[in-house]
Symmetry: C2
């Protein structure tokens, strides 16, 4: 349940809104109430669920509900972009599991006031354009009208690019932490409506390297890193100077505020990876060669739980789920 | 988009609200905009989609969104029953495809006003009880709070009980039309909140007989029969006297009104089958033997498109999507 604190910005949360402790507790309760049993191999708590099919293949299922006034604001967001985002956030979840999308299921609650408008046609135009771009079939759904505001839920199926889906729970002490692009400023710049889900990067990296853990960054690096470390039973130390800051974060801001934007703004939809240190240089070289995606090595997985961040003076502080705490 | 006409009652519609012509047209447009392509074998337009997995198995996916004030009214429906219904309507869709449920994905938009209440715990209690009863894992979801009313979307995966999923498009002229229980009065009696999805009947019948077409009755026999016949490219003639009327329909009503209740009330969640006439007697005998589910043979599939109904005087009239038209 929404607990204030970070509510000044639009928040996209997979299970309840932050803060982390409330949210992790809620997820823990749900996972306890609903334990996975066959054919479900991975249930509540990752970017998606893994179902083991008769015949040996895996089906991965992800879902995200987006709400007017929470995840976008229809007074200033065209319906095409709302539809695009609803598909794209699910594609991002599948990228995070190293899966190719197969089918999308789109449920809509539309206010009666838009019945006479081209709203639905425009919404479906946005859905179709991104679905076509990433070759995913819209194979079903449920469209309703009501007296409430606009809500859209997308459920998407996928299949691993390579042997297996990659979970967020496999990080190992000694792993390098890597992100696939610069962070921060997504909401202010409205990049959160037009971002490209990192499916190609996920396919490429998961085909060449053994990725121990992966997830997509939807709620800010600080919170999402805490989630990955909690799932993996490990801790992390980030190096502040290595965290790539997106050009959408104004250069006029003081350095600590710019860092905080990268750690806490959210809706970046880049991937966070825990990669064997043996593979990191190769991954960086590959990224350089391809000139297509910049990857950055931002820290290390450690045994002792909790997340920390090392500043430019070498001082290590706790990294709260809300991000960098700026003292002065 | 909701088009009045039947809006005096709560309506559960898979794609927009009736009338049929508007809804069929909308579904046709969506199916045209989003053609199925591999691995999707069956896309928009049936109770669920069929995905053909690498390795030969099929995954069937269904989804339904339920909204406060449309599909239930939280001022008089306990959260447990809202949660139960959200799962049960999807189980009913899987029954209609002759599939065993495997996993459920539950997305919720909860009004901020319920944050401090046991609402969510009660909701999940209702979800858990029916999920446990039918052995389906809740394997993921998305829980949000907002300023709007309560909305819940459930997406569910399943796998065919036997070789294949059964579609609504396979009815053949000469088939007998069969329903798995009496119809009408579900909303008034609130049976729509507590019905049992017909999974066991679907498993039993699909294991013993070649069912040409099957769907669940959510919007009333008249509308849903029109959908099945439209999908199959066939027509139907019902025999009014054979349509089983539920005890929830008051016996004090005039006979034509009782018939109209069975044809048009909706939310019955019984199954409608098109069965080879060679199998019908055996199916009836089996139902008698099992003393568990009453099945009724209510009509015949014919070549000429459109749905008709024969009254007790032998007069045949068109059966509108809204049900029996009472002249007199």
């Amino acid at each position: 349940v929404q607990t204030g604190g970070i509510s000044a910005r639009i928040i996209n949360s997979s299970i309840m809104e932050p803060l982390l402790s409330t949210e992790l507790e809620f997820t823990r309760q749900l996972a306890q109430q609903f334990p996975a049993h066959p054919p479900v191999a991975v249930g509540i708590g990752d970017d998606g669920a893994v179902l083991r099919n008769f015949g040996g293949s895996d089906t991965v299922v992800v879902t995200d509900m987006l709400l007017d006034g929470v995840h976008f604001d229809l007074t200033r967001t065209p319906p095409e972009l709302a539809g695009r985002k609803a598909i794209a956030v699910n594609l991002s979840d599948l990228a995070a599991m190293a899966c190719r999308p197969t089918a999308a299921f789109v449920s809509i609650a539309a206010p009666k006031s838009v019945e006479s408008e081209p709203f639905l046609a425009q919404l479906y135009d946005g859905i179709r354009s991104v679905a076509d771009e990433f070759d995913v079939s819209v194979a079903g759904g449920d469209t309703n009208s009501w007296d409430g505001p606009f809500a859209i839920n997308v459920c998407m199926t996928g299949t691993p690019f390579h042997e297996h889906a990659i979970l967020r729970s496999g990080a190992q002490p000694g792993d390098s932490l890597v992100v696939t692009g610069p962070l921060g400023g997504s909401l202010q710049s409205r990049r959160h409506l037009t971002f490209d889900p990192r499916l190609r990067v996920a396919e490429l990296l998961s085909g060449k390297f053994l990725i121990h853990a992966m997830m997509d960054l939807s709620d800010g690096l600080a919170l999402d890193l805490n989630r990955m470390m909690e799932s993996s039973g490990t801790g992390a130390v980030l190096t502040a100077a290595e965290i790539p800051i997106h050009p959408d974060v104004p250069t006029s801001l003081p350095a600590p505020d710019r860092l905080q934007a990268a750690l806490g703004d959210g809706e970046d939809f880049e991937l966070l990876l825990a990669l064997s240190p043996d593979d990191v240089q190769q991954a960086v070289d590959l990224a350089d060669d391809e000139h297509e995606f910049p990857i950055a090595v931002i820290g290390t997985v450690v045994e002792s739980v909790g997340c920390r961040i090392k500043d430019e003076a070498g001082i290590i502080r706790d990294l709260a789920a809300t991000g960098w705490q700026h003292f002065g």
